[in-house]
């Protein structure tokens, strides 16, 4: 994960079994690491996936967002770049 920036992704999806597989596949095919995934079902047959991932280049990240937007069953996708991570090591 060296030389990679950290991103937080929020994906609004139709709640169905296979969709988490499709979202994580976006990273698997590019061999990019995912640090954390949170899947939360909302009341109206939808779900929100919050995902923390690493990516070497923002252009690649934008491409992933465009690909995510193309997936059937995905309604909306947002991403945030994490500029600074606060480390506890240097107290």
């Amino acid at each position: 994960m060296e030389n990679m920036d950290k991103y937080i992704l929020d994906v609004l999806v139709r709640n169905r079994i296979e969709i988490l597989n499709r979202v994580t596949n976006l990273f698997i095919v590019k061999n990019l690491p995912v640090q954390s995934v949170l899947y939360s079902v909302t009341s109206n047959d939808m779900a929100i996936i919050n995902l923390i991932c690493f990516c070497p280049d923002e252009e690649i990240m934008k491409r992933i967002i465009r690909q995510a937007n193309n997936i059937v069953d995905i309604s909306e996708v947002y991403y945030t770049k994490v500029f600074k991570t606060i480390s506890n090591n240097n107290k």
Partner: protein
Amino acid sequence: MEEPKRMTGAEALIETLLKEGVDLVFGYPGGAIIPIYDHLYDYTDRLRHILVRHEQGAVHAAQGYARSTGRVGVCFATSGPGATNFVTGITDAMLDSTPIVCITAQVDAAKLGTNFFQEADIIGITSPITKWNYQITRADEIATIIPQAFHVAASGRPGPVVISITRNAEIEMVDYLYDREKAISQLVHVNIFRNVERRNAAVAKAIELLNTAQKPLIIAGQGVILSGAEQILAECANKGCIPVACTLLGRSCMNFHDHYYVGMVGMHGNIPANKMTQQADVILAVGMRFSDRVTGNVANYAPNAKIIHIDIDKTEFNKNVMVDVKIHGDAKEMLEQICGGLQFVDREEWRRYGYEKYDYEMQTVIKSALGSKTLNMAQVVDTINGHYIESVSEKARDKEGKDVILVTDVGQNQMFAARYLKLTMKNGWITSAGLGTMGFGLPAAIGAKCGNPDSQVVLLCGDGGFQMNMQELGTMMQNDIDVKIVILNNSFLGMVRQWQDLFYDKRFSHTQLVNPDFEYISKAYGIRYRRVTTAAEMVEAVDEMSASKGAFLLEAVVDETANVFPMIPAGKSLDDIRIE
């Protein structure tokens, strides 16, 4: 209002297929799909089933059907091995944007995940290679999911959809009511053009760039054919005096004889198309994706050009090549808008440059090959042009639809055919481009013939690719499918041999084939056969093939040492084109 009808899930599936306009499926039965086949037996008058010899054949045939008719191809397979045999074809359809719906059976929902007999997680397997997939576990889902599958496969950028139906859903009873609009309204699908103003501005910018350009070039891809924009493309070329090149899949989007057609781009493309790409100052790319086989080394691709990119899939923008103007929309609509603003600019010199390069290619590459004493691929393609396509087209001049559909396999045969076949808009053109699937040709030709019974279907394939799905000759025999097969037999895996020859010190590692006697094979399947070894015999044989009714297998024994030129070595720029 229509009342729900009580029936089994399997019957509901077949009813839905009929309501979606399906009249032909390719398939292969097996344990878990028997309930569906049992109902299919009652529907033989309305739903024709072609029994293939291998599931891969079914999915390629569905592709051939979809590509030649513009409708969604449908194929059936059972669970486990049946479903996994679909995988290559599904991937091929994904890369070549072909609308197909693959219906596979699955074990009972209660037994999922228990390593049941013939169980494979086909939803997990096909997740990265489908546009959409869904596992139906209850019969009441069928009336909703199947219309959604057809909608997803055909809308936007087309692609494959896999529907896996568990056995219990096939046999359960259900109150069936078909309501397409309601089903589709439940889909969450974002393929909409959100910002029309921004798109209009992009179109205006594109028109301005094209009108002020000195050396513009249009590169047309399969998107033109998928959206039916062939006529408007020709109009754009005429109106603005802009030469048109095409990609491998877009080969039949323009008449070969058209004033403005300059050939195919890419690794094995024509010299004028590639040279003009490098010289152009504005490139209008329509419905193509700048694949690595088209661009060569991206760093040196079209160094002087401002690129305008029209695509229905916005993930294609800036993926391989950075573009200057992005137009997200349907090729036909966008070309119509652009055509409205185009002005005629005299670019005679630019067009003459294309002619000169074409003449050069003819002199250096083709002329010597045509004069050669041993039969070679250039002579075969030339004979098919003169003695088959032209004569059949002449006879079918007033007929609606496609006259000749040309199908190729993958390799040297494909590249020769793509460059020199004199295709027109009335010809169909089916080949496997993105995935380069050897063995694609024969089943795809069968699918094309089933979808277009009035058209002549010709398959050009190599000896290697033919033998990969040779079992489908049985499908042809059983269903009396009339496909003319031309095998270019050089007893080698020709394209790999060519790379070994040029880049691996002529170390021909495991590319030589010891072939069976194709005469016996054709006899076994009741297909007429002829073997030729010279150009003169080839002419006679093609005339015989043209006159004969029913399937025909023509084996052309060609020079095994021949390579396909011009070619651009992998990773090199389009400027490094090799002609020997």
